[in-house]
C-alpha cells in the first residue's frame, strides 16, 4: 500500500509537479521525489506521467470481489422538524429518482418521527416508491441514538445500495454515526452525484480545500454508499399527485428507541424565522455597515425580496448581529439563487461560504475589493445610498 516513483521509468520531466495539489513532488537529479509527509495519496499525478513511473496501490486494487447483488435501491434519510419534511429532503428524493432510474431500481425514503402519514404521501408524490415510516412518540424529535438505531436496523433489513442525507446539523450528526455502525463509506457535502456506467457505482463529487479543488470519491467495496448534500444543491422536484407508492410501517422495540441524551427544550429564535440555509435570496452586510442599527436597511431589502439577512464575520465579531447569521468558513455555507453582498470586501473565508450562489451582487465603495472578482453584477458605490434605492425600486417592480 502506498505511492512510489519507479526510478527506472522516471526521466525527470517534471510534468507531475504541476498536478500535485499538495506540492509534495520535487525533482532531484532527474528523478521525481514524493514527500510522503505532504502526499495525500490522491492520485492526481498519475495521469500526468507519460512513462507510467508513478505507482499507487489503492485498497480497491487488492480487495477481493464482494458480492453486492443483494443491495438494491436508492434511499434518502428524510429530515422532519415538528412533523414537517425539510426542503433538502425533497431535493434529495428528486436526485435519488434520477440515480435510481439509471440503476433501474427503486427510491426508498426513511421517515422517522410521529404522526407523519401526510408527509409520507408527499414524498411519494415527489418521486419515492417506498416510504419506510417509523412512528413513535419517542421518535417525535431527533435524538442521535434512537435515530441511529432505527436507520441502522432498516439498512440491515432492506440493504439499500445508496443512502443520501441532507448535510444539515441533524444529517451530519446522524449519518456519520450510522456509517461507522454499519461499516460504510461516507462522503460529506457532495455537490455532484452520478452513476458510473461500467461498475454501476456512485460517483460523489465534492469541493475540497475551501472549494479550490474538487474531488470525485467512490466507495466500491462497501455498501451502502453514503453521501450528504447541502441545501439547494439539487432542485426540488415537482409534485406529481398521481404517483403511487408503498408506505411500509416499521416498529421498533422500546430499547432500540432509548436514548442516553435527553431533549429538554427546542428554542426558536425569532430573528431566525427565515432559515439562512433554505433562503432563496440572502442580503448580507459586512464591516462597512458601521453599526447594528444599519442592519435595518438590509432587513428592509430582504423583506421586499422575500429573503434572509446574512453577514460577514467582521459584523458578527463587532457584535452587530448574532453568530447564526454569519456566512463563511467559521459560519454557515449557503448557496441561494441570489446573494447580495453589501459592504463586504470578500476575504477568502467569506467567499468559501457563498461562492456557489447562482447570482452574486456586490455593492462596495472600493472598486478593487476582492468580492468583485466573484460577483455576477458589481456596483461600486455607497451602500447607504444604493441599498435604499434598490429597496424602493424592487418594491415598485414586485408590486409590494
Amino acid at each position: 500500500m502506498g505511492i512510489q516513483i519507479i526510478n527506472d521509468k522516471c526521466v525527470g520531466c517534471s510534468l507531475c509537479l504541476k498536478t500535485c495539489p499538495f506540492g509534495a513532488i520535487t525533482v532531484k537529479d532527474k528523478k521525481a521525489i514524493i514527500d510522503l509527509h505532504k502526499c495525500n495519496l490522491c492520485g492526481a499525478c498519475l495521469p500526468s506521467c507519460k512513462f507510467k513511473a508513478i505507482l499507487l496501490e489503492k485498497p480497491q486494487d487488492q480487495a477481493e470481489k464482494k458480492d453486492f447483488s443483494a443491495y438494491k435501491g436508492v434511499w434518502v434519510f428524510v429530515e422532519q422538524k415538528k412533523g414537517r419534511v425539510q426542503s433538502v429532503s425533497y431535493e434529495l428524493v428528486g436526485k435519488a429518482r434520477e440515480l435510481a432510474d439509471k440503476l433501474k431500481t427503486y427510491v426508498g425514503a426513511v421517515l422517522i418521527g410521529n404522526n407523519l402519514a401526510m408527509e409520507a404521501q408527499s414524498l411519494i408524490c415527489s418521486g419515492a416508491d417506498t416510504v419506510y415510516l417509523a412512528e413513535a412518540p419517542e421518535l417525535a424529535n431527533f435524538l442521535d441514538e434512537p435515530y441511529t438505531n432505527v436507520l441502522v436496523s432498516l439498512i440491515r433489513k432492506y440493504k439499500p445500495e445508496i443512502v443520501l442525507s441532507g448535510a444539515t446539523i441533524i444529517g451530519r450528526s446522524l449519518i456519520a454515526r450510522v456509517a461507522v455502525k454499519i461499516d460504510a463509506g461516507l462522503t460529506a457535502d457532495c455537490t455532484g452525484l452520478d452513476i458510473e456506467d461500467e461498475r454501476k457505482i456512485l460517483l460523489q463529487t465534492r469541493p475540497a480545500f475551501g472549494g479550490n479543488i474538487m474531488a470525485t470519491i467512490i466507495s466500491p467495496n462497501y455498501r451502502p454508499q453514503m453521501a450528504t448534500v447541502r441545501h439547494k444543491v439539487f432542485l426540488q422536484p415537482e409534485l406529481d399527485k398521481s404517483r403511487k407508492g408503498k408506505i411500509i410501517k416499521e416498529s421498533f422495540p422500546i430499547n432500540e428507541m432509548a436514548s442516553r441524551t435527553t431533549l429538554i427544550e427546542v428554542v426558536e429564535e425569532v430573528e431566525n424565522l427565515v432559515n439562512l440555509a433554505e433562503a432563496d435570496i440572502i442580503v448580507s452586510g459586512g464591516r462597512a455597515m458601521g453599526g447594528p442599527e444599519n442592519f435595518k436597511m438590509l432587513h428592509d431589502l430582504a423583506e421586499v425580496l422575500g429573503g434572509a439577512v446574512g453577514s460577514s464575520r467582521a459584523a458578527v465579531d463587532s457584535g452587530w448581529i448574532p453568530y447564526s447569521h454569519q456566512v463563511g468558513q467559521t459560519g454557515r455555507t449557503v448557496s441561494p439563487k441570489i446573494y447580495i453582498a453589501c459592504g463586504i470586501s470578500g476575504q477568502i473565508q467569506h467567499l468559501v461560504g457563498m461562492q456557489s450562489s447562482k447570482i452574486i451582487v456586490a455593492i462596495n465603495k472600493d472598486p478593487d475589493a476582492p468580492i468583485f472578482k466573484v460577483a455576477t453584477y458589481g456596483i461600486v458605490g455607497d451602500i447607504f445610498e444604493i441599498v435604499p434605492a434598490l429597496t424602493k425600486k424592487f418594491r415598485e417592480v414586485l408590486g409590494k
Binding site: G43, A188, I213, I264
Partner: protein, 265 residues
C-alpha cells in the same frame, strides 16, 4: 474532570492561492495552524478543567510537524500533548481517521483511569466534513452532541448544553462520558501568556505509533478507508461579471431588470 481534546493541524486557508499558470494550489510557505474550530474545543476544555479540576489531554493525528499544534494547545492551557503519527495513517478518510483517534482515546482512557469528555471542533477547515467527531463517538459507543454552542451546567455527572439548530437551539442533557463537537459561539479563546509559551516549548510530547495504540494497520490510513478518491480537478474559477454603472436610480433600474425573473420565478 478528565477531558480529551482531538485537534487537527491545517493549512491557514487565507494563504491558499491558486497558481494561475498550472491551476494548482500553491502550498509552499503556507503556515500551519490549529483548525479554527478546535481552538474553541481547547478553550472549553481548559475552562472546564479550571472550574472542576482534572486534566486536559490534547491529541492529534498527523505527520511529525503536527507537534507544533500540540505545543500551541499546551500554551493555551492543556496539560499534555499526544501525537499519533505513523506512515500507515496517510491517506485516511473519515472512517479510518475516526477509528485511529478512537483507539488513541482508549489508550488515553487507560492511562488516565477514565475520562469524562471528548471535545472536538465542529469540523476541520480543510476537509469540512464534520464526520470525524461523530465517528469517534460511534466507535467508542458513547453519547454525542454536535454543534454545541454553550455548556449550561454540569451536575451529578449530567451535562446540560445548547446545540445549535437551523432555527435557534436545542437544550439537551447528556450523561458523561460523552463526545461534544463545538462551534465558534461557545467561547472566546485566550491569548497564551509568555510564561505559558515557554512552558509549552519545554513540554514533553508523547508520540504513539499504530502499534502503540493497538490498531490494526489494515483499518487505518488509505487501506482502512471506506472511500477512495478517483479524481481531483480544479473547478472553473468564478470570474467577475458585469459592472453596473450610472446614476443610482439608473443602477437600481438595471439590477431590477436583471433579477426580476429570478425573484418571481
Amino acid at each position: 474532570m478528565n477531558i480529551i481534546v482531538c485537534i487537527k493541524q491545517v493549512p491557514e486557508t487565507t494563504e491558499v492561492r491558486i497558481n494561475p499558470e498550472t491551476n494548482t494550489l500553491i502550498r509552499e510557505g503556507v503556515k500551519s495552524i490549529i483548525n479554527p474550530f478546535d481552538m474553541y474545543a481547547i478553550e472549553e476544555g481548559v475552562r472546564l478543567k479550571e472550574r472542576f479540576g482534572g486534566k486536559v489531554v490534547v491529541v492529534t493525528m498527523g505527520p511529525p510537524q503536527a507537534e507544533a499544534a500540540l505545543r500551541e494547545a499546551i500554551s493555551l492551557g492543556a496539560d499534555e500533548g499526544i501525537l499519533i503519527s505513523d506512515r500507515a495513517f496517510a491517506g485516511g478518510d473519515t472512517w479510518a481517521t475516526s477509528n485511529t483517534l478512537s483507539h488513541a482515546v482508549i489508550k488515553i482512557r487507560k492511562e488516565l483511569g477514565g475520562f469524562d469528555l471528548v471535545l472536538c471542533g465542529k469540523q476541520a477547515s480543510d476537509g469540512d466534513t464534520a464526520q470525524v467527531g461523530p465517528g469517534i463517538s460511534a466507535f467508542l459507543d458513547i453519547p454525542q452532541v454536535t454543534y454545541v454552542k454553550k455548556i449550561e451546567e454540569i451536575k451529578d455527572n449530567k451535562i446540560r448544553l445548547e446545540r445549535m439548530s437551523e432555527e435557534g437551539f436545542d437544550v439537551i442533557e447528556t450523561p458523561a462520558p460523552c463526545l461534544l463537537t463545538v462551534v465558534k459561539e461557545i467561547n472566546e479563546p485566550r491569548i497564551p501568556s509568555l510564561k505559558a509559551m515557554i512552558r509549552a516549548k519545554a513540554a514533553k510530547i508523547t508520540v504513539w505509533s499504530a502499534k502503540d495504540i493497538e490498531v490494526d494497520a489494515k483499518d487505518v490510513g488509505l487501506s482502512g478507508s471506506r472511500t477512495t478518491v478517483v479524481k481531483i480537478f480544479t473547478p472553473p474559477q468564478r470570474t467577475g461579471g458585469q459592472k453596473l454603472t450610472g446614476e443610482i436610480p439608473e443602477i437600481a433600474e438595471k439590477l431590477a431588470g436583471l433579477l426580476k425573473s429570478e425573484i418571481t420565478g
